[in-house]
């Protein structure tokens, strides 16, 4: 056997910088980052993309991606992305947002961007809590789930019910591609990657608003290690937040079929 038979099956994508992230061990924010970098590399769009970082654990995303980035105010990433995309319509523009950022603080901007059919892509990290500020309840926190601001477990009577963001946005005519994926195992991750690719292709084709919601773990605030967190996701989140395609416009469908 010679060296020429050695093939690199996988290597760190060039879209990530050579920097350790500040994410906690096992946090699937890292997986989402990696997938986005892989897809943009594969599409040859690394030098044509602008990311919008949120306020949340991903606040420093701009340090980890090796392409242009801006940092939004809490919740306003879709508006900021709109400002960029309208100014530079031929660039790929995406936001990367947590559930507190998108579904609480920024719900107004999110719905508006989707309704406008804004030609941007949103990557939405649903980890059922506010990671960065120490694990408070988010709009996505499950009924009964304990957080630092629902210490007895989320009481739906006084603290309300979780929002299924993808399902909700899917009702909007402006939304072209709205899906949910999970990051808890290899198979889910591969599916998630295909969705990222589809979303970007849809944006590239000018077909309107796209969003991929990712079920993600937060070992630190859930108080579970990474493998246990992934189990918890599977057992508790998946039933409430089913993976699926909630809105695929006709045109988007065509693009979707072309992706692998």
């Amino acid at each position: 056997m010679t060296d020429t038979d050695v093939k690199v099956v996988y290597q760190r994508p060039i879209g990530l910088t050579d920097v350790t992230t500040h994410y906690c061990p096992g946090c699937t924010h890292g997986v989402a980052h990696r997938l986005i970098a892989e897809v943009l590399e594969e599409m040859g769009e690394l030098r044509n993309t602008i990311g919008v970082a949120p306020v949340g654990c991903a606040v420093f995303a701009y340090n980890y991606f090796d392409f242009d980035f801006v940092e939004a105010a809490h919740g306003r990433a879709p508006a900021m992305a709109t400002g960029i995309k309208r100014t530079l319509p031929d660039r790929l523009v995406f936001t990367y947002q947590g559930d507190g950022d998108l579904a609480s603080m920024g719900m107004g901007e999110t719905v508006a961007a989707a309704a406008r059919g804004e030609q941007i892509t949103i990557f939405f990290i649903n980890n059922t809590n506010y990671g960065m500020t120490g694990g408070q309840m988010a709009p996505t926190t499950l009924p009964g789930q304990k957080t630092s601001s629902s210490p007895l477990g989320r009481d739906v009577e006084t603290q309300g019910y979780p929002i299924r963001t993808a399902e909700m946005l899917a009702t909007l005519d402006g939304a072209s591609y709205v899906v949910r994926r999970s990051l808890h195992d290899a198979r889910s991750i591969r599916n998630a990657k295909r969705a990222i690719r589809t979303a970007f292709e849809i944006q590239k084709a000018g077909l309107g608003f796209s969003m991929v919601e990712f079920l993600s773990i937060c070992p630190t605030n859930w108080g579970l290690n990474a493998p246990k967190s992934r189990e918890w996701l599977k057992d508790h989140m998946l039933p409430y937040y089913p993976v699926g395609d909630f809105k695929v416009s006709e045109e988007a469908e065509r693009v979707m079929k072309e992706v692998r």
């Binding site: 056997m1 050695v6 099956v9 290899a186």
Partner: protein
Amino acid sequence: MPPKGWVEINDLYCKACETCIADCPQKVLALDMSRLSIKGYHPAYMAHPEKCIACGICATVCPDAAITVYRGTPPGFEEKGTE
């Protein structure tokens, strides 16, 4: 028979989260309790390199893009492989 491939785990990135360890279908990986990385972690390593099938699952699930996966005979095996 030589293994089908191997992985390299970059100490700089590995945070010892054990995700790859849990998901490796061949149970190749483990934390290296004998070493501490500069970040203060016991990084993952190939505890059973002989079992690796280069399936890439570990890299797919690694949140820190710490793993490179190679298909082919691992460098150390080359000679042995031809033995």
